[in-house]
């Protein structure tokens, strides 16, 4: 119990004194996970709409597959990304292994199924009449897209919130493709893992508390935007 209290005090101390190492780690974690969520939102929204509004063979299976990928283990994404982007792999020429860029790619892959899934279910919940009415009123494709985007905004927002939660809290992928390099690819979760391995319990606990605090702030901000 004393350890948890010590960790809490240490966390407060690290935050108040703006400890440069902690600030760097926190900034990197945020930058990577937010970038991944943003890229994913931009990809997932049109993709989700495309799947929802077209009927094709195997559609139901595809949707089930996307939902299955909600439970994609982070280490598996890590392994696949590693095999593709390692120098010996098909995309090795980019030389991206052990860099923040590869972590963004990995996390984007991790959260995209979740976002597509949420866009599809947001669209499924729509009144079927909306599209027909808009078409009958002579909406062009651009106007139609705009209308639908308006309707699924909460789905997309929920996707961003959940996706961000998944991205910032994952450790397997970040460790595997990022390599937990000090001052370059070290995120909150990989630093916690290392701190624990090295027996620095308090520091790990402090970082854990900081991670939760960030999640709280981000969620409060997004909720506020949603309610305005």
């Amino acid at each position: 119990m004393a350890e948890i209290w010590q960790g809490f005090l240490r966390a407060l101390n690290l935050i108040i004194t703006l400890n440069p190492e902690v600030m760097e780690i926190t900034g990197l974690s945020l930058a990577i996970s937010l970038s991944a969520c943003l890229i994913s939102a931009i990809i997932s929204t049109p993709l989700g709409a495309l799947i929802h509004f077209n009927s094709f063979w195997g559609k139901r299976f595809l949707v089930s597959l996307i939902q299955t990928f909600f439970s994609l283990p982070t280490v598996l994404v890590g392994l696949v990304v590693f095999l593709f982007f390692s120098r010996a792999g098909p995309l090795g020429g980019f030389g991206l292994m052990f860099s923040p860029a590869i972590m963004v790619i990995g996390q984007t892959i991790l959260v995209t199924p979740l976002m597509i899934g949420l866009v599809i279910s947001a669209l499924s919940g729509l009144d079927h009449g909306i599209r027909e009415t808009a078409l009958a009123l002579g909406a062009n494709p651009l106007q139609m897209g705009w209308l639908l985007l308006r309707e699924v905004r909460y789905g997309v927002m929920t996707g961003v919130v959940l996706g961000f939660g998944r991205a910032i809290s994952e450790v397997g992928l970040a460790l595997m493709v990022g390599g937990n390099i000090r001052g370059y690819t070290r995120t909150l979760t990989t630093a916690i893992s290392l701190g624990t391995n090295m027996g620095d319990i308090e520091f790990s606990l402090a970082l854990g508390i900081i991670l939760l605090a960030i999640a709280l702030v981000i969620n409060l901000l997004l909720n506020r935007l949603q309610q305005r």
Partner: protein, 287 residues
């Protein structure tokens, strides 16, 4: 709709702001980097945190230290994902060089492995040779032995001791509940040994770092088989063209330089009251 746009632009601004602050995470990597895969046990001693800034200042390069078990570290080398290896598994290092993946193996420091366990030594292995201590543990089957089980250098040393004690490792693995295959790094393995009041094989550095937390003692610490040599191997540019071989060569020079060898010799004295390594500048130690 305005909310969605507001939310997305808020995210975008935040991302850009953070990336501005942290120097960006762009794909372009203008600064020269040297990527080195090292073993968990060496990393956990904190030695790299001391060496890294010195190397970076001297050679004007970003040194990226990636820690992993020796098994995966060597795999990173074979695949060309790192420019040099700093590991501790002679047999595998030699085959890495023999296969053409590494240019040359240069030993630069060593210490000894220790068999650690509860201070009371319930199995009574104190004073035995490492081989006989393992034999006694395997024959009694009543005291937990925690194995790294992760294909690391420490794990392969453990297997070498089982072999020297006259056991087949496959038999040991399935000989009962006393043999625990942890599949984890040295720190967590030591913590597990402490919780289960069992024995394990550890490098001296990680053992000392965790001594306070685990309450374990060094039970067997002598025997030539316990020698633990750390060596540096640059990845062969003829095999992998993208490798930063100039800086990898600088790393070899750096680690064997008089100044750094002195630093390695003294490392740990302040924290543990005893030095963690003996420097051996390019020569294979014999014991």
């Amino acid at each position: 709709m305005k909310k969605l746009i507001a939310a997305l632009s808020f995210l975008l601004c935040l991302t850009m702001l953070i990336e501005g602050c942290t120097g960006g995470i762009g794909i372009a990597q203008p600064r020269e980097r040297l990527r080195v895969a090292t073993t968990t046990s060496l990393y956990d001693t904190g030695l790299w945190a001391v060496l890294e800034p010195r190397f970076e200042a001297k050679y004007g390069v970003e040194l990226d230290i990636i820690y992993a078990g020796t098994g995966i570290a060597i795999e990173y080398g074979r695949r060309g994902d790192v420019d040099a290896l700093v590991v501790h598994d002679k047999a595998r290092e030699l085959s890495f060089v023999a296969d053409g993946y590494g240019t040359e193996r240069t030993p630069f420091a060593y210490n000894y492995f220790v068999i650690v366990g509860p201070a009371s030594d319930p199995a009574g292995i104190k004073g035995l040779s490492p081989e006989n201590a393992f034999k006694k543990l395997a024959e009694s089957k009543s005291y937990p032995f925690i194995s790294r089980g992760d294909d690391s250098g420490t794990h392969s040393k453990e297997q070498a001791i089982w072999a020297a004690a006259g056991f087949s490792y496959a038999d040991i693995q399935k000989s009962g509940d006393w043999y625990v295959d942890a599949g984890r790094g040295m720190g967590p393995t030591l913590v597990m040994a402490g919780e289960k009041q069992g024995y394990t094989l550890s490098d001296i550095g990680t053992f000392l770092a965790f001594k306070g937390q685990t309450g374990l003692s060094a039970i067997v610490e002598t025997g030539s088989i316990m020698l633990n040599v750390y060596a540096v191997i640059p990845v062969n540019p003829e095999m992998i063209s993208t490798v930063n071989s100039q800086q990898a060569q600088n790393l070899v020079e750096f680690l064997t330089s008089t100044e750094i060898q002195q630093l390695i010799n003294d490392y740990g004295t302040k924290d543990y009251g005893t030095s963690l390594f003996t420097a051996c500048a390019g020569n294979e130690p014999v014991s």
